[in-house]
Symmetry: C2
Subunit: 232 residues, 2 copies
Amino acid sequence: MCDQCGCGQMGEGAPQDRQRLTLAADLRAAQADTARHNREHLAALDAVAVNLVSSPGAGKTTLLESILSSLSTSRPVVVIEGDQQTDNDARRIAATGTPVFQINTGAGCHLDALQVHHALHELEVPQGALVIIENVGNLICPAGFALGQAADVVLLSVTEGEDKPAKYPQAFSDAAAMVLTKTDLLPYLDYQKDRCLGYARALNPHLPIFEVSARTGQGLEPWIRWLLALAP
Amino acid sequence: MCDQCGCGQMGEGAPQDRQRLTLAADLRAAQADTARHNREHLAALDAVAVNLVSSPGAGKTTLLESILSSLSTSRPVVVIEGDQQTDNDARRIAATGTPVFQINTGAGCHLDALQVHHALHELEVPQGALVIIENVGNLICPAGFALGQAADVVLLSVTEGEDKPAKYPQAFSDAAAMVLTKTDLLPYLDYQKDRCLGYARALNPHLPIFEVSARTGQGLEPWIRWLLALAP
């Protein structure tokens, strides 16, 4: 209720809010069912999926371009790309020779389990594959939706500032690993790396953190080993 | 329907989807009512609001820190900060001497008009003020929600890559101006600036674009003049 304006239209707890909460719970349950199905689908193939989450422009696609050839010498790799529009990222991944399927979410702000299910069938996932899901560029919404992945990885670029884990905690709390990208730019920034890592570890104390530069190749090997060790 | 798995649980157009669309339309209408109320509230004070939208870490707060003292010599300025967690940004703005109100959205991925309405009352907006709303760091969701602003400004940092306008178009289509930030880093990047600006102008042909560096001060003056000229 707006006392100052006397407009009488600003009450809290409107019927829509309650209805929204109920519907959100229903949708979440349906998502969880489909995600469970995706996991079973992958497990039957001895395959495993990893979900990459970050802000737009943190460098997910560039990082994949730089590691896909190394990964695919050890196990089959396929990629699912999520963006609102364009197949730019799928074309970049396809140029590395890796099978890829692009999902365009339109107005959607994250991938959902049904879209990933469709992509798994389109890709004809090989036995023993690593399925890399590059989610829509959004540090917030993708963190709340299970897709059938064995692990979430949150990427953060050094140009995004130190306090993002504290401000947008869910992606960091849920992550099985964090990748700090674009470390080649550190000499040109006023960036307190330990402050950033401290915020992340305050939420997730044993979080493995890989510091990488796709441009120089620095730090990529430990991150590749971690991905290859992922098991269903 | 999943033919390969034969699970029979993957039909499209589930009842939840239809229910969700109806509810989303109801919520959007309620938001629009509150946004209209906020605009009237501001117009009665001869004040105007601008809504800043970007990815996390594009430099919204740093840019505000660098222009608030200039702005406030010409007209009263107040700031509304949106983040999921922390009052880090409000403390930074308060240190400049500018009145500020922090909204924490919790799990929410964007500000809504009711939150802004509350903030307008808490701030006791002065006559003739410029109200700067720094939305939650998210290039997608904030673009879809009216708050009562006279103008949206989308910020994009040069470290985010060239194709973000094409991939996440709504914020760029809706914007009254675009600010390209962190231009001091251009010498250290492989960045095709004209490609990025071309994507933005393909969506919004007459979009004013300000290229700025908060660190060096380059390009700030035209952006300040544009903000000061905003009218209800």
